[in-house]
């Protein structure tokens, strides 16, 4: 039994300043199988994988791979032993071509010692064709869509011809059709005897492609089971350590007056859009990538310029030229990409919470840190943010907890309207459920939410009304009662509902 495990990681522990990331965990993967590693954000999955690929060195424990005890101290060594990885944080080198990125660190050489670009491009072309990925090897990474960057990273991991490939959220940015393509790649790798460790928050993927599931919780090993013996509910229960009865916490609230009334607004990426949001309402905004949802909200919030149309708040026409105008009028915007436009990664949790709101905490020319501390502590408790202290650098928190800090930031400004752009992207089920709970509490107090989301269950589960966009146009609006996945998808792809 033991010898069919190509990989055994045993009693692995890893301590970071202030956080015990892994305590005494184990993971065993078999040759020619897909092994899912599941757990909430911060459960230690990525940390363990980084130990395996040599980005971190574990404090204790043993790694046995292909029957050999390995002491992995750097990535180069891991790669040379036949372990490669698709990283969760997509990490292309933007100015280099796809081929250069794929073969970075093992460039083919000419006999006179220079990099053989022609051969490299030829190898990349063959690789991409074999994997049926339609990207030009000579395209620069910075000119590719996020989906194609992810596909290139997949191609890169496969190109090492490793015996074990770690896939850390390989489908976070790619389309359904491309996921199917990836699964085909995975199946053929399996047939060649390659072992795959698969990390994803998408339940349907886990049940579709994996053979075994290991669950971690809070840096501890919980269990390993054959996927066939598990159900959605059982798996979630293992991950969060309790039964989640109602994921969405949706309550019907009393609708108040119209808070925001947008008429015929146009801007870069959207045309002639009208919509309203009432107090006590959650307006879901659905659509495909590139539908203009983010652009619309950035226009409303004053991040980008708009032309034509009008924006009324509480029935009064307002002029919003910059985000400060929007904030003054009671709006708050949680951006889609939290690392790029939301977080100050090197600042503390506390700084990240009060930065948008510093004017409320002034005592003459001084900042009243006492009151800040009190409010931030309150938020930390309310949002159940897992951090050793408010002074912890936010970079060290898990994705879900970072997102909670951002939401806390905007809640502290006490807005009347909260615009959330993909509020639960890359967040585990437990944290998701808590964010939904907070959203419900928020609208119950007579405030409004606009939620852009690409996750249809989330849109259907949380929205009172759903507006759908397609390539910059509003293509429809559905009430909670009439909305279905099919109707939304039809509108989102620009097909008329009558069809």
């Amino acid at each position: 039994m033991e010898d069919e495990h190509i990989l055994s990681m045993e009693s692995i522990s890893k301590q970071f300043p202030g956080v015990r990331a892994l305590s005494d965990v184990e993971l065993r993967a078999r040759k020619g199988t897909v092994h899912a590693l599941m757990g909430e954000n911060g459960a230690g999955k990525s940390t363990l994988m980084k130990c395996l690929i040599g980005i971190y060195t574990p404090d204790s424990g043993t790694i046995t791979f292909k029957g050999e005890r390995l002491n992995i101290t750097n990535t180069h060594y891991a790669l040379s032993k036949g372990i490669s990885m698709i990283h969760q944080e997509l990490s292309p080198i933007p100015q280099m071509t796809v081929a250069e990125n794929i073969y970075l660190g093992r460039e083919p050489m000419t006999w006179y010692g220079l990099v053989d670009m022609r051969k490299m491009n030829r190898m990349a072309t063959e690789l991409l064709e074999r994997l049926q990925i339609k990207i030009k090897p000579t395209a620069k990474m910075c000119d590719l869509s996020i989906a194609n960057v992810q596909l290139a990273e997949i191609a890169k991991a496969v190109s090492y011809n490793s015996d074990l490939i770690i896939m850390d959220e390989p489908t976070s940015a790619i389309t359904e059709a491309e996921v199917e393509g990836l699964f085909n790649i995975i199946r053929s790798l399996k047939a060649q005897g390659v072992a795959i460790i698969y990390i994803s928050h998408k339940m349907d993927e886990i049940f579709k492609i994996t053979d075994e599931v290991t669950v971690f919780r809070d840096g501890r090993y919980i269990s390993t089971d054959a996927t066939a013996n598990l159900t959605d509910g059982k798996l979630i229960e293992k991950m969060v350590g309790r039964t989640l009865t109602d994921m969405f916490h949706k309550e019907t609230t009393d609708m108040g007056s119209v808070f925001l009334d947008v008429q015929n607004l146009s801007g870069k990426g959207f045309r002639n859009v009208s919509f309203q949001v009432k107090r006590g309402e959650i307006l879901g905004v659905a659509g495909l990538m590139g539908a203009g949802r983010t652009e619309l909200m950035e226009g409303v919030f004053g991040v980008t310029r708009t032309h034509g149309g009008s924006i009324k708040i509480n029935g009064k026409e307002v002029s919003i030229k910059q985000p400060a105008d929007a904030i003054r009028n009671g709006m708050a915007l949680l951006t889609e990409d939290r690392k790029l436009t939301g977080l100050y990664l090197n600042a503390s949790v506390r700084e990240n919470m009060f930065i948008a709101n510093i004017n409320r905490y002034m005592l003459g020319p001084f900042v009243n840190f006492g009151r800040i501390l009190k409010d931030c502590e309150k938020m930390r408790g309310l949002m159940r943010i897992k951090t050793p202290s408010l002074m912890e650098i936010i970079r060290n928190l898990s994705g879900g907890n970072q997102q909670k800090v951002l939401i806390a930031r905007w809640l502290l400004t006490e807005p009347d309207l909260l615009i959330l752009d993909e509020p639960t992207r890359g967040i585990d089920v437990g944290a998701k459920s808590e964010i939904y709970r907070l959203m419900t509490e928020f609208v119950r107090s007579g405030k409004a939410i606009i939620m852009i989301s690409s996750e249809l269950p989330e849109v259907l589960g949380m929205s009172d009304r759903i507006m759908v966009m397609h390539t910059g146009d509003k293509t429809g609006e559905l009430s909670r009662a009439e909305a279905t996945q099919e109707k939304i998808l039809q509108m989102a792809t620009g097909m008329s509902l009558a069809a």
């Binding site: 690929i53 980005i55 750097n74 990535t75 180069h76 790669l79 040379s80 990885m85 990283h87 990490s91 292309p92 080198i93 933007p94 100015q95 280099m96 250069e100 990125n101 970075l104 660190g105 093992r106 460039e107 050489m109 010692g113 220079l114 990099v115 670009m117 910075c142 000119d143 590719l144 869509s145 996020i146 989906a147 194609n148 940015a173 790619i174 389309t175 359904e176 059709a177 998408k202 349907d204 659905a286 659509g287 495909l288 990538m289 590139g290 690409s454 996750e455 249809l456 269950p457 996945q485 099919e486 939304i488 998808l489 039809q490 989102a492 792809t493 097909m495």
Partner: protein
């Protein structure tokens, strides 16, 4: 796509829109266009500009800063900065000169020591590379920000140059030595020949070797380079060594050009070299961007500018003001390009 089992709305994004051909050509070749326009404008402003003597003069004057800028480009591409190169010029100038004094000179630096020319040349390059090794070790091993590390060597190396000579110039150098800075081959001044050779070598090094690829990779995304199995520290260190070597070569050329090794040589050259790289499209704000051709054109732009302002009798004070504006303008252009990418 209409599969009802789909749980996540498909995310489709079209690739770069095709319409902005002109903008993309400008962002790629803009600096060469600007240079061409400048040359045309200069030739209209002054009849003397296009004479062979004047053109050779322009290139010879920029050759020393050009040599330094070649190395500085690589350092900036890797995500660093090198402020020490002007001081390295001062130190290597006096070290090389001290080994190349005329045997008949009354009060030589090293009495009775007569070494072949090659020793002086190698000493300048080696001392430069050694300072580069110190810079590189500080940056790669101790993780001090490159600005601070090279600010330190910038100050200390100048002091070392002054200490070496006791603050005095070293003069009366051999004819062979002076030929490097003052001679010419087939009518082309030797400094220009050295610059052209080093530009070609550096271009091959940066664009066609593993070392070069890794410098760009590290500057573009160091974490990504590391997870691809690249020893980022080692290559970061090596690029400082190469930049130091080129600054040493520049020190040799300068001292032989004026026929004297002076510890105060090269003051401010580091900033001119950075300016040349930046004007030539090397990005200080995002690593991994910059080319040898761009840097050479950047240095030529500064050279042509100085020259035409001289020829048209614009005061030297104005020259500095205009140069400053051009540097800022180049960075604004770079920012606009970066923004266009997003």
């Amino acid at each position: 796509m209409a599969n009802p089992a789909v749980t996540t709305v498909n995310k489709v994004r079209s690739e770069q829109p095709g319409g902005h051909m002109l903008a993309s050509i400008f962002s790629k070749y803009g600096i060469f266009l600007i240079f061409a326009v400048m040359v045309v404008a200069a030739s209209l402003l002054s009849a003397a500009f296009l004479s062979t003597t004047n053109l050779i003069n322009v290139v010879r004057q920029m050759s020393v800063v050009g040599l330094i800028a070649l190395g500085v480009t690589g350092v900036i591409v890797s995500g660093g900065i090198d402020l020490s190169s002007g001081s390295v010029v001062g130190l290597t100038a006096v070290v090389a000169a001290s080994l190349a004094q005329d045997p008949d000179y009354a009060t030589p630096f090293y009495p009775g020591v007569h070494v072949p020319l090659i020793v002086a040349v190698l000493a300048a390059c080696a001392v430069g590379a050694l300072v580069g090794l110190i810079n590189g070790s500080l940056v790669a091993k101790t993780r001090i920000p490159p600005f601070i590390a090279t600010l330190g060597t910038f100050t200390a190396i100048r002091g070392l140059a002054l200490l070496y000579t006791g603050g005095r110039p070293i003069s009366d150098l051999t004819d062979a030595y002076n030929f490097i800075g003052q001679g010419d081959v087939l009518g082309i001044p030797v400094p220009i020949i050295i610059l052209v050779i080093m530009a070609v070598v550096t271009h091959i090094l940066y664009a066609h070797t593993k070392f070069g690829k890794y410098i760009y990779a590290i500057g573009g995304n160091e974490q990504a380079a590391r997870v691809s199995g690249i020893d980022a520290s080692r290559f970061k260190m090596l690029i400082y060594v190469y930049a130091g070597f080129l600054a040493g070569l520049a020190g040799l050329v300068v001292s032989s050009r004026i026929g004297s090794g002076q510890p105060g040589l090269g003051v401010g050259y580091e900033l001119d070299a950075i300016a040349a790289a930046v004007i030539g499209g090397t990005s200080l704000s995002a690593g991994g961007i910059g080319t040898v051709a761009g840097t050479i054109v950047g240095a030529l732009i500064i050279g042509v500018l100085n020259n035409i302002l001289d020829l048209t009798n614009v005061s030297a004070y104005w020259q500095q003001i205009i140069k400053g504006c051009i540097i800022v303008g180049a960075v604004i252009l770079d920012q606009l390009k970066q923004r266009g990418r997003r």
